[in-house]
């Protein structure tokens, strides 16, 4: 199992490199000049200098290698420096200076060049780190809520196959599966924010939680986006759970367990459920990156300024380094959770051994 995991980890490196190359080439092929917003009064030679400062003068492969170097080597160095300098966990270690290089002209250490956003001229990763908590709060909570609702629905509707509960559950999950989030979002806003006035319609990210009332407001404003995202998760996972339970309920070992005189709850919730969870857990792992992708729309509807909204604004502003980095982060998430799903499958199901 360990060899398999290590082999998969090593294999994911070329995959990620290839994906980054695809994204990079796609962005290179695209027209659009980052200097388009610069006033016309700026002389062309100054513009040329600015272009070179953004790293645009170099040939394409140099730009690509430079991006790789900055993303995989410089950024982690900055992260380590920051951790030894400011965090509690590693702050007791001596401050590292990994990200600094000696500059011969200035006779002192200067920070290395990082991936710079063309929009704000600040480091891309700093902005991403600022935005990630908002996305994680909304998306993560939605995913957990969705799973917690989906599992009992799936189990019960498989157990009571063709009952009214099963029919209704299948119908509702089918609807949740089919209605796109950009429709459920406005619909829920109209119902709960406009007509009933129970919940705020826009997510206020500057809101700070310091007492009970502000905590309550924070919970209220998270309800709608979480509901929209959780509806989709619930629909997908409960369908899987139901199908997987149905597969297992007719197996011979279930009859054996019943014949032994085990209680029905033990048969269903221990014997069948444990075996049915194997494919469902991998589906849950595989669904994590796609819900990040889906959050792009939900964040847009509710004005959550997470990484999805960051991607959209960067795209419209033609901010290539930001788009490149964000898309690549999504790709890392997908590859990483694919790996987790594969490994989990092997760990949970002893019949599957990869090596």
């Amino acid at each position: 199992m360990l060899t398999f995991t290590i082999r998969r980890l090593i294999l994911s490196v070329p995959t990620l490199l290839f994906i980054s190359l695809i994204i990079f080439m796609l962005l290179q092929l695209a027209p659009g000049d980052p200097m388009a917003q610069v006033p016309l009064t700026v002389p062309p030679e100054v513009k040329q200098k600015m272009r070179e400062a953004l790293g645009l003068g170099a040939p394409i492969y140099i730009q690509y290698l430079k991006w790789l170097y900055q993303f995989f080597i410089v950024e982690p160095q900055f992260l380590i420096d920051w951790m030894t300098r400011e965090t509690v966990l590693f702050g007791w270690l001596p401050d590292t200076q990994l990200s600094m290089v000696y500059d011969a002209d200035l006779q002192r250490l200067v920070p290395q060049q990082r991936v710079i956003s063309w929009q704000t001229r600040s480091a891309v990763m700093d902005i991403v780190i600022q935005r990630i908590p908002q996305t994680l709060w909304v998306v993560g909570l939605a995913y957990i809520v969705g799973i917690l609702i989906a599992l009992p629905i799936g189990i019960y509707s498989a157990y009571k196959h063709y009952s009214v509960f099963d029919q209704t559950g299948t119908f509702v999950t089918m609807i949740g599966f089919s209605i796109p989030p950009f429709f459920t979002g406005p619909l829920l806003i109209v119902i709960f924010a406009v007509t009933l006035g129970w919940l705020p319609s826009i997510y206020d990210t500057t809101h700070t939680v310091n007492d009970w009332a502000s905590f309550k407001y924070q919970m209220q404003q998270m309800v709608l986006p979480v509901m929209v995202l959780a509806l989709q998760t619930t629909a997908q996972i409960s369908r899987f759970m139901r199908a997987s339970m149905l597969d297992n309920l007719n197996q011979d070992y279930v009859r054996t367990a019943r014949a032994k005189g085990l209680k029905e709850s033990v048969v269903v919730l221990v014997h069948v459920l444990r075996n049915s969870m194997i494919p469902v857990i991998t589906v849950i792992a595989l669904g994590v990156p796609s819900i990040f992708g889906g959050a792009i729309i939900t964040e847009n509807v509710f004005g959550v300024n997470g990484i999805g909204q960051l991607l959209i604004t960067a795209l419209f502003a033609n901010d290539i380094p930001m788009v490149m980095t964000l898309t690549f982060i999504f790709a890392i998430l997908i590859v990483f959770f694919n790996l987790i799903a594969d490994v989990l499958y092997g760990v949970l199901d002893p019949r599957i051994r990869y090596d």
């Binding site: 089919s178 796109p180 950009f182 429709f183 406005p186 792009i296 729309i297 898309t327």
Partner: protein, 324 residues
């Protein structure tokens, strides 16, 4: 000494009529399909929507682009039921938008765009997926390469990449094919080449199993070429998984197109699609909820119908479930 018990020696040789006329496989499939109420509803609704967007403009001849600024913000006809003062007109049954454009004809035109994108993108992804799947399953040498390629595509972040591609390539394609044509080609191609992977995997699995069967061996032993084996023997046998993934593909393509339009990177602003109508209506949905509801319900019902159709087809085409 001959016994008188009469044995009719010809009874065994008589060619009796079979009790029931023979049934073809597709009749069985149809019988199973009919049992699935949701699937029948989905199929009927899909046909209805397709016909409505195809022939709707000839029946409801109001120009969707026509700006009738005097009659702007007309409420739909049913608004008069609960609000007597609402501004309604029988000549504008679904009302008009803030520029006085008729919403019914916009819905028909928008459905045309959405369905056209959906069907074409689905066909494109089916063709790519079937091709890759058959080649990977049939030719052992290409299997490894093609399946690694499929895995790579599966690990691409689809929605971000779609957004990137559509935003960045809008300008050159518009210049070459016109604003609507360029966008149509772009969305169809981009959705098509990012959604073929599931089809390819399913088809490859089926082909791998079929390839070892005796009828393929028989075909090869009489000298059938690879191309003919694929065309005559393999493809007809993988039709059912392809049909099921076609329905899923149609649903995804419609949703993706609407999502792109909703995010404002789809078709140009004067070209209605359901997603764009929905996005345009969101800022004023408190006063005019029907402008959000109508396109939203249209998208949702179409996708729901297509998904149910897929469910029913999967059950009907699976011989293990059929007849149960």
């Amino acid at each position: 000494m001959t016994d008188t018990t009469e044995i009719d020696p010809f009874a065994a040789l008589q060619d009796k009529e079979p009790p029931k006329p023979p049934r073809s496989q597709w009749l069985d499939v149809w019988d199973q399909f009919k049992k699935h109420k949701g699937a029948v509803f989905g199929g009927v609704f899909l046909i209805f929507i397709t016909l409505a967007v195809l022939f709707g403009p000839y029946i409801w001849t109001v120009d969707p682009q026509n700006l009738d600024i005097r009659n702007k913000n007309v409420r739909p006809i049913w608004a008069a039921l609960f609000d007597g003062d609402a501004k309604t007109m029988w000549s504008r049954p679904f009302g008009t938008d803030n520029l006085g454009r008729d919403i019914l004809s916009n819905m028909i035109a928008g459905g045309r765009a959405s369905m056209a994108v959906g069907w074409t993108a689905m066909l494109l992804s089916l063709i790519i997926g079937t091709f890759v799947g058959v080649v990977a399953g049939y030719f052992k040498r290409l299997d490894g390469v093609l399946m690694r390629l499929t895995d790579l595509f599966l690990s691409l972040p689809i929605l971000p990449l779609l957004l990137v591609a559509v935003t960045l390539f809008r300008q050159p394609l518009r210049a070459n094919f016109g604003p609507e044509g360029g966008m149509f080609i772009l969305i169809v191609v981009v959705v098509g080449i990012t959604s073929w992977m599931q089809t390819a995997r399913i088809v490859r699995g089926e082909v791998l199993a079929l390839k070892e069967r005796e009828f393929i061996l028989a075909a090869r032993s009489i000298g059938t070429t690879n191309g003919a084996i694929i065309r005559r023997h393999l493809l007809p046998n993988v039709v059912s998984p392809i049909m099921v993934s076609a329905t899923l593909g149609l649903a995804t393509a419609i949703i993706t197109e609407s999502a792109l339009s909703f995010l404002g990177v789809g078709f140009p602003s004067d070209f209605p699609t359901w997603g764009k109508m929905l996005a345009d209506a969101v800022p004023r949905m408190e006063e005019f909820p029907e402008r959000v509801l109508l396109p939203g319900i249209a998208i949702s019902l179409t996708v729901l119908g297509v998904n149910y159709l897929g469910d029913g087809l999967r059950d009907a085409l699976d011989p293990r479930i059929r007849g149960r």
